[in-house]
């Protein structure tokens, strides 16, 4: 398809439709409303289903139903709305249902504010639903990437029978950028396990997350864990920017990673050998590559629009041998490249360099 100037929310919606998503269930919330509204406008004419649910709880359970009966489906929301979906997401994971959840996050906690924030990293990567489960979380840094990750998300969801989340900050949702969509529907086979009312022609199907027998439930969990290991193996994504000869490493994701790139460029222009490692999949998190790089770094600098939630994962990757510094803004404030440069230099000075 030709390049178009599109709003992130709309590009996400369109990418999903083009990729073959055929059912959308959602509830309005800023800053993702245009996504829901795009679906209202175009899903039907694409032969799909749009339902404005009575709530986020209902929306995720409609997704559960659609997915259980074999439809490639999705929902979207923002921070408090995602919180309300946690039980449903856990059910999807437990029953092994493919589904795409788009989270366009804003400031919290509580009602918080509506401006861009990354305070929902934990919410996305650590669930909040019950039980031992994981949801792959992909975090785009541009509208183009948002569209590709939506596509990728649907593929991964279908492949592993698991819900997948695309976590976009409010900037991604609201911004317009040129974007070129892959015009081809994704290629997935019909789901033989789907409870789609065809028990006339095959043994009946049951979709369920209840396992009253302990051994049953333990085995089910082992099966899930094995699947999660496979996802970690195959679906970890990250970008390296000027890391080849780097002595310092920034780690940032989403929109802030772009600002961080500018900071890298600025510092490079001053001769500082610094690079950026950008996690694209937040779960599975690129622990290994960060660990590997960390050994060569003088320090690592994590920049987030939160109090430091990804920071914990970076520390987990790094261990104690390399210092990890942090700079964050909250509440909708966004740092600027020079702000990061200044913070960076403070730590450099301490090192005496």
């Amino acid at each position: 398809m030709a390049k178009q100037l599109m709003k992130g929310n709309e590009a996400i919606a369109k990418a999903a439709i083009v990729a073959g998503c055929r059912a959308y269930f959602g509830y309005p919330i800023t800053p993702q409303n245009e996504l829901c509204e795009y679906m209202a406008k175009y899903m039907r004419s694409s032969g799909g289903v749009f339902v404005q649910a009575e709530s986020e709880v209902a929306a995720i359970n409609m997704v559960y139903g659609a997915a259980a009966s074999g439809a490639l489906s999705m929902t979207s929301s923002s921070s408090p709305g995602i919180a309300l979906k946690q039980e449903g997401i856990s059910y999807c994971a437990g029953a092994e249902l493919p589904a795409l959840i788009v989270s366009v996050s804003r400031g919290g906690p509580g009602l918080g504010g509506i401006l861009p924030s990354q305070g929902d990293y934990n919410q996305a990567t650590r669930g909040g639903g019950n039980g031992d489960y994981h949801v792959p979380v992909f975090a785009p840094a541009s509208i183009q990437e948002a569209a590709s990750l939506v596509r990728k998300g649907l593929i991964v969801a279908a492949k592993y029978r698991n819900p997948v989340m695309v976590l976009a900050d409010g900037v991604i949702g609201q911004m317009m950028e040129p974007v070129e969509l892959d015009p081809n529907p994704i290629d997935i086979e019909a789901f033989p396990w789907a409870a789609d009312g065809n028990s006339g022609v095959r043994p009946r199907n049951i979709v369920n997350s209840l396992h009253l027998d302990v051994d049953d439930l333990e085995n089910h969990n082992k099966h899930l864990q094995a699947k999660y290991r496979a996802i970690e193996e195959n679906e970890t994504m990250w970008e390296e920017y000027k890391m080849d000869d780097a002595e310092y490493m920034f780690v940032a994701y989403g929109t802030p990673s772009r600002i961080t790139k500018s900071a890298v460029d600025e510092l490079r222009s001053e001769g500082v050998k610094v690079g950026l490692l950008r996690p694209i999949s937040l779960w599975p998190f690129p622990y290994e590559v960060i660990h590997r790089f960390s050994k060569k770094m003088k320090f690592i600098f994590v920049a987030e629009l939160s109090s430091g939630q990804m920071l914990v994962d970076v520390k987990l990757a790094v261990g104690y041998d390399t210092p990890v510094h942090f700079y964050g803004r909250m509440g909708g404030n966004i740092f600027e490249p020079l702000e990061l440069v200044a913070e960076f230099k403070k730590h450099q000075e301490v090192l005496g360099q």
Binding site: L5, T30, P116, Q174, M175, M176, E177, I334, E336
Partner: protein, 179 residues
């Protein structure tokens, strides 16, 4: 090309978001990197709206312009008050003539004062004030061709309101030339 960091601001309904989008489309046409970012949500309930547009040869880092505005289009007083301090020295401020009875609080910026309502009326449609502004902006930027800009106007509005085409293009011309 020196990066453009444009803020378009005004009352809701004045069409400032469209002006920003037209600049973004123009940039795309010229194979530039570009981002357009609106204010959103209840922020807009107050009746004001704005958008940030960044145009560059490099991929855009920050789509939100926190400082160093190179071009400010302020279609009402509150918007001028809000953003003037963030304009880079040497930057350009485009305002409605009637708004600047008093001299600006800054002397290190270029000012293009344009009679938005007057010129729009002259062009044939009061609704085209933002086209006047767009014209003034393209003139001030001095990066894109008038022809491309007019194409963009037609692409964006030609289909929806063909009856306005004439007036829009005329308003653009006035904005481009009369200040």
């Amino acid at each position: 090309m020196k990066p453009i960091k444009l803020v378009c601001a005004g009352f809701g309904g004045q069409g400032v978001l469209s002006v920003g989008q037209m600049v973004a489309l123009l940039a795309m046409k010229n194979n530039k990197e570009v981002s357009w970012m609106p204010s959103y949500g209840p922020e807009m309930r107050g009746g004001t709206a704005n958008c940030h547009v960044v145009v560059d040869d490099q991929p855009i880092a920050a789509p939100i312009i926190a400082s160093g505005i190179t071009h400010l289009l302020a279609m009402n007083g509150p918007s001028l008050d809000k953003f003037l301090a963030k304009v880079a020295p040497g930057g350009t401020v485009i305002v409605n003539k009637a708004m600047i009875d008093h001299p600006l609080s800054r002397t290190d910026v270029k000012v293009i004062a344009c009679d938005f309502p007057g010129l729009a009326e002259e062009a044939g449609a009061m609704k085209s004030q933002n086209m006047v502004a767009f014209g003034a902006l393209i003139y001030a930027m001095d990066v894109f061709s008038k022809e491309d800009a007019k194409d963009v106007i037609l692409e964006k509005f030609g289909g929806k309101k063909p009856e306005l085409n004439e007036a829009n293009l005329q308003a653009f011309e006035f904005g481009y030339s009369k200040h």
